[in-house]
Amino acid sequence: MKELLNKQDIDRVLARMAHEILERNKGTGNLCLVGIQRGGVHLAKRLSRKVKEIEGKDVLVGSLDIAFYRDDLNIRKEQPAVRRTEVPCEITDKKVVLVDDVLFTGRSIRAALDALMDFGRPASIQLAVLIDRGHRQLPIKADFVGKNIPTAIDENVEVNLEEEGLEDRVTIE
């Protein structure tokens, strides 16, 4: 097992991403952060705190559970656990930033896009991920990337976060 990011690294990466999100969107106007359960939700909340530090403004944060939209429900041995979906605002005409911990095949993002569309018609959807590990199976690309990490397909990237009672770190095995 090898450590890719420690607590301080993660904090710096998120600070940069918050700046990038604000730069691209010219501030917080009409902006909404939506985290994918579970890791993405914690990261979306952290990003909103960074945005507040930088800009002094609150930005809406929501959570999205994609269990019902997965494309592997028929082949999994067990149904994925269902967690809360709380989209805090009418997303129609909003600039939505989807937040996830690891971008891998892109299938979770496809499911999240479908789920979001059932809530309304956003002006745009952007994607922010802490780790991009490659091996995409769908034409999906992140707008904001914390760290690009080349991996072998059978390697396992683990994002541990304090919100889950663990020490902040990203590892590969």
Binding site: R76, A81, V82
Partner: protein
């Protein structure tokens, strides 16, 4: 975690952990029901067949909506127009439905054990929507969900179940469920409508409302089954209301925050006063809404068992 069986036949067969899994999953589906687009693609491409051999409005509509909101294809077999009236047996009907490609069979039948029998004959997931006087598991699950939502917990509460226990599969499923959560269950009703062996299940039996309702957190009223009342279980509906009907005065004996539940359909003025049924403590219509979320959770989780 997953459910152990491909079928939901009764609460008796479920563990406390399995029940908790259903209730937690149902919370996620309740979120879906609050949205503008109340439909998710989770079970797209699968088929549910509703086999109702006994009349039902509420349960059948609730299952049908739950199925549709999970993107299942839905087939309703109306018994009066099907081959059942030509004498086709339950099993033959079910095997034919299976040959049509059903993944779920939801069955209501007047014979206790009908769902169990069916589950042994078909590969589809069988959900018991009420069998004779045996069980009505999804009703107990939606009741538990409603209690947890309203009072924050199930463990340690005092729950009174009032009325015709003898003929009530709802009461039986609820007693099994509440016992698994360590709830103090009180049964209140006329001696003629309470089965003799009940006290061995760890419930307390009362024959008058005034002592039975004292300090309870939940008052669960049952429907007086008018269609079964030809046998003189009590003298008249007027007399029944006088002794066992839920009135404002009687509700005041319960805990001040107690909620009032009823599985429907209600007989107003027989087991429950209208002012209570429509009053602020009543959660009767919320039970109906929660029923959809709970049935969605059951269908979703059973789909995972069959794989």
């Amino acid at each position: 975690m997953k459910l152990a069986s491909k079928d939901l036949l009764g609460i008796k067969e479920l563990t406390k952990d399995e029940i908790t899994l259903v209730l937690d999953t149902a919370s996620g589906f309740k979120d879906v029901l609050k949205r503008d687009i109340k439909k998710v693609p989770a079970l797209r491409g699968k088929t549910a067949v509703n086999l109702f051999f006994e009349p039902s409005t509420r349960t059948k509509t609730s299952f049908e909506l739950a199925e549709k909101r999970l993107s299942l294809d839905v087939l309703n077999l109306a018994v009066t127009t099907s081959s059942v009236v030509k004498g086709e047996s339950l099993i033959d009907t079910a095997l034919n439905v299976q040959a049509l490609g059903a993944d779920f069979m939801i069955i209501r039948h007047s014979s206790s054990g009908a769902a169990h029998l069916l589950s042994k004959k078909v590969n589809a997931s069988v959900i018991n929507a009420g069998d004779g006087v045996n069980e009505h598991p999804t009703q107990a699950l939606l009741d538990a969900f409603t209690i947890k939502e309203k009072l924050g917990r199930i463990e340690g509460l005092k729950v009174a179940i009032v009325g015709d226990i003898l003929h009530s599969r709802v009461a039986k499923s609820n007693i099994y469920l509440l016992a698994k959560f360590g709830v103090e269950v009180r049964i209140i009703g006329p001696p003629t409508l309470i089965p003799k062996e009940l006290e061995s299940h760890g419930v307390k039996v009362f024959h008058d409302m005034e002592t039975g309702l004292r300090d309870v957190d939940v008052v669960m009223m049952l429907r007086i089954q008018m269609e079964r009342q030809g046998k003189g279980f009590f003298p008249s509906t007027l007399e029944y209301f006088r002794y066992w009907g839920l009135t404002a005065e009687r509700l005041s004996i319960a805990d001040k925050d107690a909620i009032v539940m009823h599985p429907g359909p209600m007989n107003r003025g027989i087991e429950i006063a209208s002012e209570i049924a429509d009053g602020p403590r009543s959660v009767i219509l919320e039970q109906v809404t929660n029923g959809i979320a709970v049935r969605m959770a059951v269908l979703y989780l059973l789909a995972g068992v069959r794989g």
